[in-house]
Amino acid sequence: MESWIRKKFREAYKKLHHLATEVSKREFGIGNLTKKIYKRHMAFVDEEDLQHYLEVETPFYISHSVAYYKKPSATPMEAKGWEGADLVFDLDAESHSKEAINKVKEDLINLIDLVNDYLDAKDTLIVFSGNRGFHFHIRDKRFRKLGTDERLKLIEFLKGEKFDHKKLFDVYNRFNLDSEVLLGPKPSDLGFGGLFARETINLLNKEPQKLHRYFKEKENRERFIKGIKEGNWNRYDKRRVKNLMDRLDVVAKRVHIFSLSIDSGVTQDITKLIRVPGSLHGSTGFWVMPIKKSRIEEFDPFYDPVVIDEEPVKVKMIQSVFINIKDFKGKLKKEEIVKVPSYVGVYLILKNYSLLLDG
């Protein structure tokens, strides 16, 4: 069974090329069917050396370090000579279903936009993880030297979870409502402040009652908005609108990013081994394929990354399961013996849904 899957992987690798870069500086780890990484501290001379290994030795899983080392195969870790690491984001769905993966796509697109707008990162790569999520690799040299703490600060920012809108306002009089001026963000400001001001104005124009019914009157609303545009958030009647700061929570919730599916642990770990882009995933047989940002929405995780051929194969089902992969759709029952395309066969066996009868 194992040798049949390896043969299928090998045939696929002959048609694909991995997308690993700076191979000679990275540590590699490989996995078999029982352990995703059973051997690590491996190194390759260059991109071709790695490609040759994939086509000849064909591991079921292969990962490389996000880190660049002087001596990637040295042990213990301290002896490798860490020189920097890619910034990597791992976004995982809750399950391996199309619906769950689609939910993650929105987070992924948000994340890419933030990274473009705020970090201006170059040399990036988005891949399907091969199972139930996406990896976003930033290989830009500017970020390689960041340590664990710095990466954590960055991810906190991108997730937006500790965001407290009150801190956008002048600390000395944000609670002093008698003051003539309450300095706050202007719509033209860069970053979260500008976003917050723009979103407030947007809400006032569309659904003013969500902030307070006082703003339903055009004159009140316009006076307040005019103030915000100048960075003064105090142009309203304080006797009628109480606790403006608390009321602005509703805006804060709208600018929150909440990319909850980002796994902070992966981004923080500067020696992490991550699936090699362009390799095959040993839990599905799917390709860890590159995706352009503009194609994320239409990406089909059960069609696009299927690279194993369709030659029919006979398997015996261990459990009942509904399968919808590429052109194959149907319910397969426990104990049933069925003929399926190789890409389904590989998937079923790797997921422990069936046994191979003949190859």
């Binding site: 707008d117 705020y118 970090l119 201006d120 990162a121 500017r142 970020f143 030297k145 960041l146 340590g147 710095e150 954590l152 600060k153 960055l154 991810i155 906190e156 920012f157 997730k159 937006g160 979870e161 500790k162 965001f163 407290d164 801190k167 956008l168 600390v171 400001d189 860069l190 970053g191 979260f192 402040g193 500008g194 902070s264 642990g265 923080q268």
Partner: protein
């Protein structure tokens, strides 16, 4: 005062120091270095030397030599933080413009700052490295765009302070030092028991991995983030530690102030805060293990008697 005297940790100051005078340091200078270290430990401030000439720089180098030889992270961190606080209070915070001296200081600290109509532009990656660990300095409250963070002058000054702290905390261990330095180290060592944090006995394997990690960092005298401090104090309160024990534990922090710690710990006791859930811990980047629990307090019950490696 000359740049080198004000900022003796810079490369230009280093060029001023004659290595000969460090091999055989004058006893009077060594004594001054000892006094400065002890003053930093006691008060959390490093009295800035206000004299012209090389002696002040030499004294600073002797302080650093003693610290490298002693290789005690509590000492190094406490003195470094005391030093950067004092430089900030006495020199940097008093500046009202980004003058040539600050520009030069930034270059020395590898802080790339560009002035742009009263704002100061700094590459995001530099900002992440040197931003103060306070919620006010989170990126959302600043203007961020196209790879740059924009700071006002006050914020810039705090970032410079942080860069100085980072520079000073990085100190290599040196074993080969002049005898004078070794003697000075011995004298400081002798007065340490009254100055160092008190020992607190902790059975580490009874604590969940997230809390052990924070404690571990604390025992290494790392400067913990606000959230890590909060989580640790609330956890210990919830498992029944006394106020005094918690405060004693926190005395391991390099920027420990009994007054502030006591105030915050008492606040937790008064309000009776519940332990943060595992989700919250993850949110704050404090979760480091997949224990499969909902709250770190469940750990002892779930894993208490198991081999730690199985987690």
């Amino acid at each position: 005062m000359r740049f080198e005297v004000k900022f003796p940790f810079t490369q230009s100051a280093k060029k001023w120091v004659n290595e000969e005078s460090l091999i055989n340091p004058k006893p009077s200078l060594v004594q001054r270095a000892i006094d400065l270290i002890i003053a930093s430990l006691k008060k959390g401030r490093f009295p800035i030397m206000k004299e012209e000439g090389k002696e002040a720089i030499l004294v600073f180098y002797i302080v650093r030599l003693i610290l490298s030889y002693m290789n005690n992270s509590y000492l190094t961190n406490r003195v470094s933080i005391a030093y950067s606080k004092s430089v900030y209070e006495e020199i940097i915070s008093k500046k009202d413009e980004f003058d040539e001296e600050l520009r030069r200081l930034c270059r020395e600290l590898s802080l790339r700052i560009e002035e742009e109509s009263k704002k100061y532009r700094i590459p995001v990656e530099d900002y992440l490295t040197f931003s103060p660990d306070s919620p006010d300095y989170y990126l959302y409250y600043l203007e961020v765009s196209k790879g740059y963070v924009f700071l006002n002058f006050h914020q810039l000054k705090r970032v410079i302070q942080e860069a100085i702290t980072k520079r000073l905390i990085n100190l290599k261990h040196l074993e080969n030092v002049p005898d004078e330095i070794k003697k000075a180290a011995k004298r400081i060592q002798a007065s340490l028991p009254s100055l160092q944090p008190k020992r607190v006995k902790v059975k580490m394997d009874e604590y969940p991995p997230c809390i052990s990690k924070i404690m571990d960092d604390l025992f290494k005298h790392k400067n913990l983030s606000h959230y890590a401090r909060w989580a640790l104090a609330v956890f210990l309160f919830n498992i029944g530690w006394s106020k005094e024990s918690i405060i004693r534990l926190f005395s391991n922090l390099p920027d420990f102030s009994e007054k502030i710690t006591r105030y915050q710990v008492e606040h937790i006791f008064r309000k009776g805060y519940k332990m943060l859930s595992c989700d919250k811990m993850a949110l704050y980047g404090l979760c480091i293990s997949k224990c499969g629990l909902k709250n770190p307090l469940e750990y002892k019950k779930a894993y208490g008697k198991l081999d730690k490696k199985k987690v």
